[in-house]
């Protein structure tokens, strides 16, 4: 049964969404199934994670068709780490949305689609076939399109159109890139591609294909200059949806970039140069964008873009230390960003506004909640010993090693800007004397809710804050994990061997 182990998280999500579809009109049953299923999923993923940690990379040839002809599923430590993070963020958002989503939205199949989205994420991390990766991307984009439009408010639809158009364009470019790659090599299996692409003589053609992949994934990961859809759309859906989008969707793009540029298009000075330039510009432009925003959710949206830059920078420098830093940042960022969008939802429910100018006095009204929110906010900034601090050490060390001083400047500038933005947010929302926010008549205020609904808001934030604290205080363990991931990524032969040795003796 251990052969199959890596597919279990994926199959469980599929089973959950099918099960939830049977309870289409029964919202309470859906809430219970979703939360229990997510807890089960987390437990299962932890088990699979520990198995892979002890036994090394696992592969599975779906349908018993041997690689490179069939679809390979491969769980190396990067993939399984991301699956684990998806499970953690998924559980938190599942609890949060059972409280925060109004029944009008839940009635249109929110939970089944939510679990389809998680299914797509799990699949994208686990697959070892580039066309299959495209299919998982499609599952993700279709589910996310439903989630972003659910409820059908005007602002939501406007955001959704921008979101959908650009993501669809990205899928098209990605598909074109796959077609070109298939024309060059005649293969779709990523391990096989890694061998065949390095043998191609016409390097210019390979570079162009790589740039196509970069554009396709770059739109999804929201890097400079392709990020405009993100701040235009992420603040429009309910905060539970924003949380899963902000935490995980752009990170799939980052994952795909890391995978493709560490496995298939590797060791090309020109491409690394492009990645570095893009990363630095992303760090600058995202940070500057965040400075001028007033809506809390828009601030966080720009900060997503800004911090994507760190991960791309690590990939661009491509040393073991740099990759380890990028992976550590990825781990920290998924948890914190998910948490922050839930926090923005909580603030909105309490005060009835997301505008920093209008908000204020949060600390004097809710001192305990403010202290709780302090954790994710300042983890994001990276005040030592909180979690955002540690990956930056690796990244700065790496930028000295590779003598990319612009990269160093980008890191320091982005950290500084993040600090300014978060300090401003803290001063405006928590310390300033409140302005007049008109009471809304039909608004579902936090203080009017029952005890359990309130818990549904607070528990996931506490949960993710504890995870963040663990990443900060247990940084040594996370560093060991990300170093191991980096080692595996630097040595692509490990990946290739894992896929093909297994194919020779499938049992």
């Amino acid at each position: 049964m251990t052969q199959q182990l890596i597919l279990y998280p994926l199959l469980l999500q599929l089973l959950l969404s099918i099960l939830l579809m049977f309870f289409w009109y029964r919202i309470n049953a859906q809430r219970v199934i979703s939360i229990l299923g997510s807890i089960l999923h987390l437990g299962l993923t932890i088990f699979v994670f520990s198995f892979i940690w002890n036994n090394g990379t696992q592969t599975l040839q779906a349908g018993s068709w041997e690689a490179p002809f069939g679809i390979t599923f491969i769980a190396d430590s990067l993939a399984i780490t991301l699956v684990l993070l998806t499970a953690i963020a998924g559980l938190a958002v599942s609890i949060f949305s059972s409280s925060a989503m109004i029944p009008d939205r839940l009635r249109f199949g929110y939970f089944p689609i939510f679990h389809f989205l998680l299914l797509g994420l799990n699949g994208a991390f686990l697959t070892g076939d580039i066309f299959n990766l495209y299919v998982w991307f499609e599952i993700i984009i279709i589910s996310s399109f439903v989630l972003i439009t659910l409820g059908g408010e005007k602002a939501q639809l406007e955001g959704a159109v921008k979101y959908f158009t650009l993501n669809f364009l990205a899928s098209m470019i990605f598909l074109t890139a796959i077609a070109v790659l298939y024309g060059l090599t005649g293969s779709l299996n990523m391990a096989d591609l890694a061998i065949k692409v390095s043998e191609i003589e016409n390097r210019a053609l390979v570079q162009i294909t790589a740039v196509l992949f970069l554009i396709g994934f770059g739109i999804k990961a929201a890097v400079f200059p392709l990020y405009f859809w993100l701040p235009a759309s992420y603040h429009t859906p309910p905060s539970a949806v924003s949380a899963i989008f902000g935490g995980l969707l752009t990170k799939v793009g980052v994952y795909a970039l890391i995978r493709v540029f560490s496995l298939i298009f590797v060791g090309d000075a020109f491409l690394d140069e492009i990645l570095l330039v893009i990363a630095i510009l992303t760090l600058f432009s995202g940070g500057v964008g965040a400075l001028v925003q007033n809506n809390i959710k828009k601030v966080f949206s720009y900060l997503i873009i800004c911090h994507i830059g760190y991960m791309i920078l690590g990939l661009g420098m491509f040393t073991e230390v740099a990759i380890a830093g990028a992976i550590f940042y990825l781990i920290h960022d998924i948890i914190v960003k998910t948490n922050l969008f839930m926090v923005s939802g909580l603030i909105y429910r309490i005060k009835g506004s997301s505008s920093m100018r209008a908000l204020g006095g949060f600390y004097s009204n809710y001192p305990k909640l403010s202290l709780l929110i302090f954790i994710p906010l300042f983890s994001l900034v990276g005040i030592p010993p909180l979690s955002g601090f540690w990956p930056k050490i690796s990244l700065i060390t790496a930028s000295f090693d590779t003598q990319s001083y612009w990269g160093l400047a980008g890191i320091i500038f982005a950290s500084f800007i993040t600090l300014v933005v978060i300090a401003k947010l803290w001063a405006e929302v928590f310390w300033k004397n409140p302005g007049e926010i008109p009471k809304r008549k039909k608004f579902d205020y936090f203080h009017k809710m029952g005890k359990y609904r309130k818990l549904g808001f607070v528990v996931p934030i506490v949960f993710l804050s504890f995870v963040s604290l663990y990443i900060g205080f247990g940084a040594e363990n996370i560093q060991i994990l990300s170093s191991r991931v980096a080692q595996e990524l630097m040595d692509k032969q490990l990946y290739i061997d894992a896929v093909f040795n297994n194919a020779q003796n499938p049992k």
């Binding site: 199959l11 099918i18 779906a62 349908g63 018993s64």
Partner: protein
């Protein structure tokens, strides 16, 4: 569209199209056809019926809400995928086949059940979409 010719024809076409859709479904796997096309043809049969006799009559004929077919079909496809995992500890989606072909139907294996699942999902999705649109129109 209440024309007598269409109404009479649709009463005969409904069963013929449904049988044809099942034929296309079973023809799949090695020849052109399969669950997706079969499902579309079955959906067309009901759409044609709804054109001729009105939406309410077609809904009465179907008895269940077409949306219900989606999870049923997905569940069936899912079962056919995990059958080798549960039964034989083979990788996910490995094809399991009965050794001898059945009369009329031919070889039966887990792929057929996957296709039936697809068929049900396609019927469910298409009819849900079309019924919803024509209700709101």
């Amino acid at each position: 569209m209440k024309t007598l010719i269409l109404k009479t024809a649709s009463n005969y076409l409904l069963p013929v199209l449904l049988v044809f859709s099942v034929f296309i479904l079973l023809r799949g796997h090695y020849l052109p056809g399969g669950g997706f096309v079969g499902g579309l043809i079955a959906a067309i049969a009901f759409v044609l019926h709804a054109f001729a006799n009105g939406l309410d009559k077609s809904k009465d004929l179907l008895k269940i809400h077409p949306g219900f077919l989606m999870p049923v079909g997905l569940g069936l496809a899912f079962m056919s995928g995990i059958a080798p995992v549960v039964g034989l500890d083979d990788p996910f989606m490995t094809g399991l086949w009965f050794p001898d072909p059945f009369p009329v139907i031919g070889n039966v294996g887990s792929a057929l059940f996957f296709d039936i699942g697809v068929y049900l999902v396609v019927v469910g999705v298409t009819l849900t979409i079309i019924f919803t649109i024509s209700e709101s129109a």
